[in-house]
Symmetry: C2
Subunit: 210 residues, 2 copies
DNA sequence: TAGATTGTTAATCGATTAACAATC
DNA sequence: TAGATTGTTAATCGATTAACAATC
């Protein structure tokens, strides 16, 4: 009997997000079954790791056959909270903010962009896709009214913490940080860092002596 | 005597990239010294972890004072390969690709965009910032001519592996993968995944029962 | 000197892997 | 049934933390 509680380790959650995407694709291709070994191969893991990961979700496989994809997908979707819609605001109307606002991927995954904000007077009032860029001053009221769950920080490192503080004060629940600073937040606000420049530096470190 | 070799664990490298950005900022503010405790506080770590991390780089602190920032920065820069320029191509001329091509951050950090490519016939030949979007067919020749180090994959998941294979065949050294698939590559090609959607799912998982 | 902070060793903690009985 | 694959326990591996002697 798999258990759900006891909070899933972060390393496991990260892999589950990968499995979700993979199994979604298998379902789209009308492939009924997957095995732990198959999944492991697809992600460069061991089948042992995959089975350990799946022991954290409320779902069981079938001896000799593996995992039945539609039920597997449902379990992953439920576990990750991808079975419902989420209200998101984007802060920063630069190129990166724009890319996120216009991302079909996010819409397809039930992330609903509820507003776009910026500090820059020159950008406020301008259109960005179907949105009008709003002033940061309107942020607190909007967050409350729109029942926003997640804030995406697509702002320069220098203002990221300041903007985060504003969102935190407006009782946001999660922050996706695309700047390269570390964001300090109280425990009740979950922060995930997406560090593109860090990723590039990981690469340059790895390849520099070859 | 700190040692350099023995390859630095990935978890450590990831934190070093953060320290680099932080110390850069301290230098810009003309702050001369940092301590392991100060750094730890800035990133939510223990001072012990910070000191362990720094034992991997060719640089020593000073008892009672901590780390002298300009020398610290130089050591981090050298270790991460941020002391030289890198040639980069961007594959995918969508919104995300555009955001990267126009990113001042990347330019400031010596990543030189050498070309932008796309599969989509409609985009080929169009301008994107100061670039003309090229056909994927021109990719192999360009990679060779331009001495490209890194490819950034800003393409849909469905074509990511295919594009990666093309880059790998053209002897690229590193790939920054912004799609949400896992990329299979030979050992000589280093792959780093930047998974924005995964990050959002990590958030929704964390906040869904609160 | 006294005190603070490093560098490093040893202890702890957590995550991955191996192994195998249970099962369909 | 025989064989394949799961779920789980135990073993290994690696990363983080604690502790403290060395040092300026």
């Amino acid at each position: 009997m798999p258990k759900q509680k006891d909070s899933i380790p972060r390393s496991v959650v990260r892999r589950l997000t990968g499995y979700l995407a993979h199994v979604q694709e298998l379902c789209a291709q009308k492939i009924d079954w997957t095995s732990s070994q198959e999944l492991a191969d697809a992600f460069g893991l061991t089948s042992s790791t995959v089975r350990q990961d799946l022991s954290h979700i409320a779902f069981s496989g079938t001896s000799k056959k593996g995992y039945y994809n539609t039920r597997f997908l449902a379990a992953l979707t439920e576990t990750l909270g991808a079975d419902r819609g989420w209200n998101v605001v984007v802060i920063g109307a630069g190129n990166l903010g724009k890319a996120l606002v216009m991302s079909e991927e996010l819409q397809r995954r039930n992330f609903k962009i509820c507003g776009v904000f910026d500090c820059d007077e020159k950008k406020i009032g301008k259109r960005l896709d179907s949105f009008v860029v709003q002033s940061m001053k309107e942020l607190p009221a909007s967050i409350g009214n729109l029942n926003v769950d997640i804030g995406i920080l697509a702002v320069p490192a220098s203002t990221a913490q300041q903007v985060a503080d504003l969102l935190i004060a407006s009782s946001i629940r999660g922050l996706l940080n695309l700047s390269l600073t570390h964001i300090v937040a109280p425990q009740r606000v979950k922060v995930v860092d997406i560090r593109i420049v860090s990723g590039l530096l990981e690469l340059t470190h790895a390849i520099k002596d070859r």
